[in-house]
Symmetry: C2
Subunit: 165 residues, 2 copies
DNA sequence: AGACTGGCTTAGCTCGTTCTTAGTCAGCTA
DNA sequence: TAGCTGACTAAGAACGAGCTAAGCCAGTCT
């Protein structure tokens, strides 16, 4: 099977360990529900105000409020007071560094969906490089600078865990 | 806001269009539920038999059966008959090309979780390049070969859509 | 023939997410 | 002072995804 990942060291065989600290699962816990994801997408698309999130995600206000609170509690968004002239102070929801780093997740989802979930119609929207205008995509690369194919991947235990016992 | 994406052409302003064909949302529809994701992860980790999926995901048999069926219906997995000596014919669940291409999504989830959802403990497991042993990660790159930062992204309408009106 | 095993299916329950509808509250405008 | 608006909160119903417990079926082993 070219598409499966080779296990190395104590990870072999798979039945010998449990993925109880799986980073993928933990990230998905944060973005899993449709509402959180939609809010996140609109945050990247520039939404900051409660009303913008409600109208552009199409979510109901209660759900939107609950998820915005959740995302700020987790540290993906932060609330910042702002004031428009002649208006009272309100709160803007802004992406934190932690939130901004979810961009590759969204791009990866988009890339797959463009190819496999658009009935051959192609990408509805595309990312381009502001500098050169070239189309932007995600690539797997190693620290040696090589482009890496899925069949060239090996799974190894992380640095912290190797030490204790 | 350095972390938000610049809109171009008809995508400006955001309130002028709806994301009703959003590729990200469509992909997430496929991987959204925890069960589907766990099954997919184990498929990449090399699981092929029903019992392997059940024991390694920790899911109940009914859910596992339902999700395996769903994933094969969608085209992410395929069922292939196999026979071990002295055993009757059974079915293996294998990743299709469509399924294999979800790898970047998993890697993106893993990368974020490693940094933000492990309480500073670092990555439990890591990907390495089978060729050179270097650590593998995802990078945003444009067709011109430049590494692209989140703040250098522009969103444009896809090629298919620009044509019709 | 009868028991065993892997791979499921069925039934019934719980819990979480979302929806709709209906408020509340703070501060600006008239 | 009374109303308006943006940003929420509260309550209740609907739905879906997960669980457990139980059963079924095909083929092998004894």
């Amino acid at each position: 099977m070219s598409s499966t990942i080779t296990m190395t060291g104590p990870l072999e065989p798979r039945s010998g360990w449990t993925a109880d600290r799986c980073s993928m699962a933990r990230t998905l816990d944060v973005v899993r529900n449709r509402a959180s994801f939609l809010i996140l997408r609109e945050a990247f698309y520039g939404a900051t105000r409660f009303e913008e999130f409600v109208s552009q995600t199409g979510l109901s206000e209660p759900v939107c409020a609950a998820r915005l609170r959740e995302l700020t509690d987790v540290g993906i968004l932060r609330r910042e007071p702002y004031q428009e002239p002649g208006q009272r102070t309100r709160h803007a929801y802004l992406l934190t560094e932690q939130g901004s780093e979810l961009l590759p997740v969204l791009v990866a989802l988009m890339q797959w969906g463009d190819r496999w979930a658009q009935d051959g119609l192609g990408a509805p929207v595309e990312f381009h490089h502001a500098g050169c205008g070239g189309r932007v995509g995600l690539e797997l690369r190693c620290s040696g600078g090589h482009a890496v194919g899925g069949e060239e991947l090996q799974l190894a235990v992380g640095p912290q865990r190797q030490q204790r016992s």
